[in-house]
Amino acid sequence: MLGRTLLVLRLVAASLRRRPVEAVVTVVAIAATTTTLTLGLALHGVTDHPYETTRAMTSGPDIVVMPTTASPASGSSGSSGPSGSSGPSGSSGSSGSSGPTISGPGTGSGSHVNLLASLDGLIHAPGVVAHSGPYPVSYPTMRVNGSKVLAVAEGRTTRGAKVDQPYVTAGTWVRAGGVVIERSFAEELNIGVGDRVTLDGRSFPVVGIAVTAAVPPYPYTVTGVAIDNLNNVWSQATGLIWTTKPIARSLATSSVPLSYMLNLKLANPQHASAFIAAHSDGNSLYFESWQDVRRVESQQMLPFQRGLLIGSALLDLLAIASLAVIVGGRLAERTRRVGLLKAVGATPRLVAGALLFEYLTLALLGAALGLLVGWLVAPLIANPGAGLVGSVGAPPVTLSDVGWIVGLAIAVAGLAAWIPSVRAARTSTTSALADSARIPKRRPLLIEAASHLPMQLLLGLRLAARRPRRMVLTLVSVTITMTTIVAVLAIHAHESQAAPIPASVFAIPVNPNTRNTDAVLLVLTVVLVFLSIVNAVVITWATSVDSRQPLGIARALGATTRQVSAGLSTALLIPSLPGVIAGIPLGLLLVKAAGHGSNVTVPSALWLAAVSVGILLAIGGLSSIPARIQARRSPLDALQSEFT
């Protein structure tokens, strides 16, 4: 037993020493795959986590109640502005009311006493276990950095609240004389701590930035708000700010009177809808459940999410391609090695064991490396929407992710060792040693037609055609690379086509998440392109190593370096060309599929052509490197290495 273990270890050590480049490339490829998967998993989990995290960290309410001010104007707000194209509205579905409407003069001055009494009734309703508020709310016009926006100013105490205590991400919580701005609102307007904002003409310092789970982020904080319908001045984009109660009260005007916000915590959060149904008598009160807020948020993040969806699909695809290259590349060489060991009398189990051990070592090393890189990069792309706490609380790479990835690395190592072992066991020792090329039954038309081609093309074509598995691998790998790049291009093309912001009294953000999405897309693009390059390098390397024998012979027969490298390039470019072509429609299809059938912006033909040519040139250039390295050595090296 000990002797056999020693033998296995010695075999592994010898194999690693003899093929250091293969060992390094295998580690790099597995590391790239692991990084890919880590990022993919981090992306998959990103959209569900943030709201829950924010809710937990801020003691988010189960229900938010606001009085509505029924007025004739409220019904017409939909037709007076583009409310039909409004963002997601969580309000109407569950409560049956159309949201709080701040409308023209003469309304809303109704009985404060009644309002507060009905809110008070809710606090004591059965099922309610905690509450905060009612807090005074006013709707001042906010001017900052040259923009004019509608703010929802909530009056708060400087102490924390039991329910809905916003999480401060910068600066401090509300202090006398200062305001705190909700994070997505602040990001949209480029507000930072220390800036000053003007609320209805009065200047206030910004003392903090915070997030909440009580209302959706900008611009859907309060939906269906209309101001001064008579003059057709309106804004649907509202953002939340917190200030002291006196300031909030002082910002109310006769045309836009004071309102309130009450936060309720229920014994069972799942009963929120039932609670709302039971208590929404008429339309004097507007209810919003935490599920409503979550829905609005997730809808708001849709374009962002779509980018992530495409990104993670591409990452998965790339991972598959890398795995195929690792398992399928050098298969011939490995089969021959197994045959060689069997020929000197090793049992199949010993041979398989040695191979498995070797690949396991490499795979675990690669997995560790990849996890480290993934763990470092994941926060960059898995940083969720601005309105959410996001990565503050949730680790982007979880322990179960690590488990999955290490398990996969082990499975890959197993497969990479198992397939050649089985192949070598199934075939006779001699034919495993030879691991012959395949000759097609009929000479393919392609080869027939190629007899008019120059010698380099002919050699390349013949080499390629006799290794169909390698051809398929290259084809798949290049297709995925091209698909990735085309998809990224299409997304960028779509982003840059976003409609211009219409002139309006109030700044209306067309795509509040554009900035966010851009940053994430940039990181994703860099990661995807980098992984594609790693993939291309690995496949090129595997092909060139497997071509060492034929190219060495060709050199012994007097082929020049240029002829040899051209032959190798051709062998790689033949399957790459259809891959590049196929990648264009596939990339667009992927974007279309992830966009649920919405229009796909086709990148310009110039870009597509540039990328296609670039990929082909890169593969051609890459493949000439090993040929050049080999050319500096004696052709004998290549011949003898096959047999020693």
């Binding site: 007899s451 080499l463 060709a554 027969l557 004696s634 004998l636």
Partner: protein, 251 residues
């Protein structure tokens, strides 16, 4: 150039030396060898394993560069050639036959034989035609579309010989060409070499096989990188071979 003299040999080596390693591990694989091979001559080199036969052959064929010494092939100084020049030499002037065949696994017999002609820039049509003829000559016309893995050792070696002849080289170098063959295949290869020799080809064959050596014009014994003995075989090969095997040789 001195190649005009009729008496100038096709191959001339003076003080040819090849060293591997350095210091303690220095190996003089080829140690100050002088050699002349006349056009049309067949030379057999024999010697124990590791005495430097292959190394010498590699030097003669431009597969490797000598550490020191001078080497002429067809009047050209070989050791001074650039990489490009060496490649051209291997392509046009020399045909190599290896013990391990060194056929390209991915190419059929026909395509392997076509390769040198294609490398030399001949048209695919021409290359194909001459490859057909060569395969016919070595008796493998019916195996033209087989991959090497589907051929026997003897058949593979005959394909390799056909390939070595593809560009009508001035010199054919064979390194233990029968080392991996059984006696029937050895005999067939013997016949082939004999026919080639008779047709005027210059041959340098490294071999352990007395029968092959006996067919040469000259037999050289090598030990520790140097020539230790040289025997001129009178009458050449043709008569002897037939008597050795008791067969009639067709040329």
């Amino acid at each position: 150039m001195n190649s005009n003299g009729a008496d100038f040999p096709l191959v001339r080596a003076r003080g040819l030396r090849k060293e591997y390693g350095s210091g303690e591990g220095l190996v003089r694989a080829v140690d100050e060898i002088d050699l002349d091979v006349a056009t049309g001559e067949a030379v057999a080199i024999m010697g124990p394993s590791g005495c430097g036969k292959s190394t010498l052959l590699h030097l003669l064929g431009g597969l490797d560069r000598p550490t020191a010494g001078e080497l002429w092939l067809a009047g050209r100084r070989v050791e001074k050639l650039s990489e490009r020049g060496l490649a051209q030499l291997r392509r046009l002037d020399v045909g190599f036959v290896f013990q391990a065949f060194h056929l390209i696994d991915e190419l059929t017999a026909q395509e392997n034989v076509e390769l040198p002609a294609l490398l030399a820039g001949r048209s695919p049509r021409q290359a194909r035609r001459s490859a057909r003829e060569l395969l016919e000559q070595v008796g493998l016309a019916d195996r033209a579309d087989h991959l090497p893995s589907a051929l026997s050792g003897g058949q593979r070696q005959r394909v390799a010989v056909a390939r070595a002849l593809a560009n009508e080289p001035k010199l054919v170098l064979a390194d233990e060409p029968t080392g991996n063959l059984d006696s029937a295949a050895t005999l067939e290869l013997l016949r082939l070499f004999d026919a080639l020799h008779a047709a005027g080809l210059t041959l340098v064959v490294v071999t352990h096989d007395e029968r092959i050596a006996a067919t040469a014009d000259r037999m050289i014994s090598m030990r520790d990188g140097a020539f230790v003995d040289e025997t001129r075989l009178v009458g050449g090969s043709r008569g002897q071979l037939g008597s050795l095997f008791g067969v009639e040789l067709e040329v």
